[in-house]
């Protein structure tokens, strides 16, 4: 079994009861699947919310059958009220950013695969790991509870700017208990993420198996490690912000609320607080958060691309160094969300510079990807398609950021659909493509069955074309000055834009419907898919050296020793054009041009 040089993990015997096996499990693989499952529920819920919103924007006065059953006040007779639109908008953003984009690529796949990829038997602190999922689950329940209270969910957006979010019911529906539940939910979410980051960092540093040096870590592990470092410091700021917000709301403090506010004819009993303080705290978290959403996807896509191209990237070191640079810079740019906020205009220029500079490592990574495709032997299975699609949409989303990084252009584009187009392209599309690529790639390992590749390709084509049809037009709307977060379009200048909105809505329904192909494939294949071999993709990293699915302790008692880096593709290996990390065969000839 284990010898003296084996890494020490708190040994726990395999569980036997159903509860210990599938509910309160300390096994990182189960926890990873639990996070993924939570993200899956959240993404479909978030998508349905977006359908309701898109429908309402185009057919504002039409009744949506059944909506009145979900909310009597929010949709009397099925016709959505303006405030309910804003509630759905808030919940859509909150679910997607937190419960999908932080949960799936990072907590989901990371929990499942990081320990395996470093050759460990589990995470460093399995019980904290279990706690982190259940805290996140409670956060989810608290958030969803806001749908079922009479006054409904909050209407302040996922950004919850003060004083709208801080003063309470006077400022609008959903701003009493709805907003408080939101703040509690997010606070709990922070705790869950901090516990998760703790595990990721300690496991990467301390539980690597023999021969697994830092430079031999798979690029996906690098990405999870870097993300957990970013998240550690970011969520550590959001939690205090939520605490202060809750105090303003329930304890009568005035951290964010200035004097003299008259809302609904009531002079508010607060004084001295600063709404900008909320913005600074929120965005100090909020900007790194978007990199938390994208960096794991960058790692996953890089990982899958190499297996798909049958060659390593031009330089993996450059890619993860760029990821580290992005991590650092992400803490210096938060003010670009606040160019027009009333903060000192000089700060605008100060924040603009690192925002523009962050383009450089992002461009380097993108150009490394594209440059690496040259000379490849691409295998166009579904994970590969989504990875290539990721490159395309990542470029699309990245270039629109270039506009918003300049404060003078932000004057015209802030608060418009241009911003919405930008962040949906990078987060709502690119990061999701990373999750989908990872899903198709790792499903065989996690379940022992293959997904249907034909359905996968169908899913890809409709989705890839569909997302461009939905989100590219957002940029045109923004250039025309279409303001965001409007529940309907009544202004004169918006009327000529309605046909484009209709096009978007229809594209959204079709593209959204295609996601059910994925869901069907997921569920069907789980039970009826073809049995998966240990290494269906001829990949090199350690997860492919164990069974599909892995045994309880990941490697079946085998003490894994690593002899090679993770990128030995396109070489003369014993089993083909690759060498697995734990293979004791000698190293390859360098790839031409290396």
């Amino acid at each position: 079994m284990l010898d003296a040089s084996a890494p020490v993990v708190h040994q726990h015997a395999p569980p036997t009861s159903f509860i210990r096996k599938w509910v309160f499990s300390v096994d990182h693989k189960v926890i990873g699947k639990q996070y993924y499952g939570l993200a899956l529920i959240s993404v479909f819920l978030g998508m349905i919310l977006s359908w309701l919103m898109r429908f309402h924007l185009v057919w504002t006065n039409a009744a949506i059958p059944g909506l009145q059953l979900i909310s009597k006040n929010g949709a009397p007779g099925g016709v959505m009220t303006p405030e309910y639109y804003l509630s759905l908008l808030t919940m859509h953003g909150t679910l997607m950013v937190f419960f999908v984009l932080t949960n799936a690529p990072f907590a989901g796949f990371g929990n499942y695969f990081l320990p395996i990829q470093v050759g460990a038997e589990d995470m460093a602190f399995p019980r904290f790991n279990m706690m982190s999922f259940w805290v996140t689950f409670v956060a989810f329940v608290v958030l969803i509870a806001a749908f079922f209270i009479p006054d409904g969910p909050p209407i302040s957006g996922w950004t919850a700017y003060a004083p709208l979010s801080a003063v309470g019911r006077d400022a609008g529906p959903g701003l009493a208990w709805g907003q408080t539940l939101w703040a509690i939910s997010i606070g709990l979410f922070c705790v869950g993420q901090l516990l998760g980051s703790l595990n990721f960092i300690a496991t990467t540093l301390d539980l690597r198996t023999k021969g697994m040096t830092l430079s031999r870590l798979p690029i996906s592990t690098w990405a999870w490690f870097i993300t957990s470092c970013i998240g550690l410091l970011a969520f550590a700021v959001l939690l205090p912000a939520c605490v202060l917000l809750i105090l303003d709301r329930v304890a009568g403090t005035s951290f964010f609320i200035p004097a003299g506010l008259v809302i609904s004819d009531h002079l508010q009993p607060h004084a001295g607080g600063s709404p900008l303080l909320w913005q600074h705290l929120f965005w100090f978290f909020g900007h790194p958060e978007v990199y938390i959403a994208i960096v794991p996807a960058v790692g996953i896509v890089s990982h899958i691309l190499m297996a798909s191209m049958r060659k390593p990237l031009l330089s993996v070191k450059v890619v993860y160094s760029s990821m580290i640079a992005i991590g650092f810079l992400s803490y210096m740019v938060w003010g670009h969300h606040m160019f027009l906020s009333g903060m000192n205009p000089f700060s605008g220029l100060v924040f603009s510079f690192p925002t523009l500079v962050i383009t450089i490592p992002a461009t380097i990574i993108t150009m490394i990807w594209i440059g690496s495709v040259y000379g490849a032997n691409l295998r166009f299975h579904t994970p590969c398609l989504f990875s290539l699609g990721f490159i395309s949409v990542f470029v699309a989303g990245g270039v629109s950021g270039f506009f918003l990084a300049q404060p003078s252009l932000d004057i015209q584009l802030h608060g418009t659909y241009f911003v919405v187009g930008h962040f949906h392209m990078v987060m709502g599309v690119a990061a999701i493509f990373g999750i989908l690529a990872g899903s198709y790639f790792w499903f065989p390992k996690m379940t022992g069955r293959m997904m249907n590749d034909t359905l996968g390709r169908l899913h890809f084509w409709i989705t890839f074309i569909g997302v461009y049809c939905i989100f590219m037009p957002f940029h045109y709307l923004g250039l025309a000055g279409n303001v965001r977060r409007y529940s309907s379009f009544v202004d004169d200048y918006l009327q000529p834009l309605l046909p484009l909105h209709k096009f978007i809505t229809i594209a959204a329904f079709i593209t959204g419907a295609a996601q059910f192909i994925f869901l069907y494939n997921l569920i069907y294949s789980r039970f009826k898919g073809a049995p998966a071999p240990a290494n269906p993709w001829d990949a090199t990293s350690l997860e492919w050296s164990t069974t599909s699915p892995p045994p309880f302790d990941n490697f079946g008692g085998r003490h894994v020793v690593v002899y090679h880096g993770p990128n030995e593709y396109g070489v003369s290996g014993a089993h083909g054009d690759f060498i697995m990390q734990d293979s004791s065969e000698p190293g390859p000839e360098p790839v031409p041009g290396d």
Partner: protein
């Protein structure tokens, strides 16, 4: 390029050094530091955003509590330096440290009561708000440290599973909280 020879690195350390508890504690310390940095920034910005800053005289008991907390760090270090063969002695000093920790918390509660006695509640002024936020947040983390001591004390009762890393981790965290308290006391004194 890669060869068949193994590379020596952290991945090849002897078992005893591999326990991740210490990495975990430092990661936790980084996060907690960041959180209190956020609270400190909030204080600085809030002080400048309104004209309702009312100077608050810190209750004297806070200084006594500081001495108690620092003393507990001392007793903790003594506990750490005890021979691994003499776990009973380690345990005794841990009990003392734990008791001093409880005493610190009791002293903080007394400070809150004293403030209440002066009519200074959570929302009375921004100064009092920050006083309670800082001291309560610190106290919550002290509770966490005390839980860590309970865990460590339990482990001293079974010498076969005793590892110095457990106490090292708990000690690192506890000393950090002491240092954090000194910092908070300075901030409270200078700013409130």
């Amino acid at each position: 390029m890669s060869t068949i020879a193994l590379q020596t690195d952290r991945g090849v350390r002897p078992a005893a050094q591999n326990a991740p508890a210490l990495s975990g504690i430092w990661v936790a310390i980084a996060a907690i530091t960041m959180a209190f940095a956020a609270f400190t920034s909030s204080l600085i910005i809030r002080q400048g955003s309104g004209d309702d800053w009312r100077h608050l005289a810190l209750p004297g008991v806070l200084y006594l509590n500081t001495v108690v907390l620092l003393a507990s760090s001392l007793t903790l270090e003594i506990a750490r330096r005890k021979d691994a063969a003499n776990l009973a002695s380690t345990r005794s000093w841990l009990y003392l440290t734990f008791a001093l920790g409880i005493l610190f918390l009791a002293g903080q509660i007394l400070a809150w009561y004293q403030l209440r006695g002066q009519g200074l509640y959570l929302a009375t002024s921004p100064n009092s708000s920050f006083f309670y936020v800082f001291t309560v947040m610190h106290a919550l983390h002290v509770l966490g440290g005390l839980a860590g001591f309970v865990y460590a004390i339990r482990r001293t009762l079974s010498p076969s599973s005793w590892r110095t890393t457990t106490l090292d981790a708990a000690a690192t965290y506890w000393h950090f909280l002491a240092g954090l308290w000194v910092y908070l006391l300075l901030v409270l004194r200078m700013r409130l």
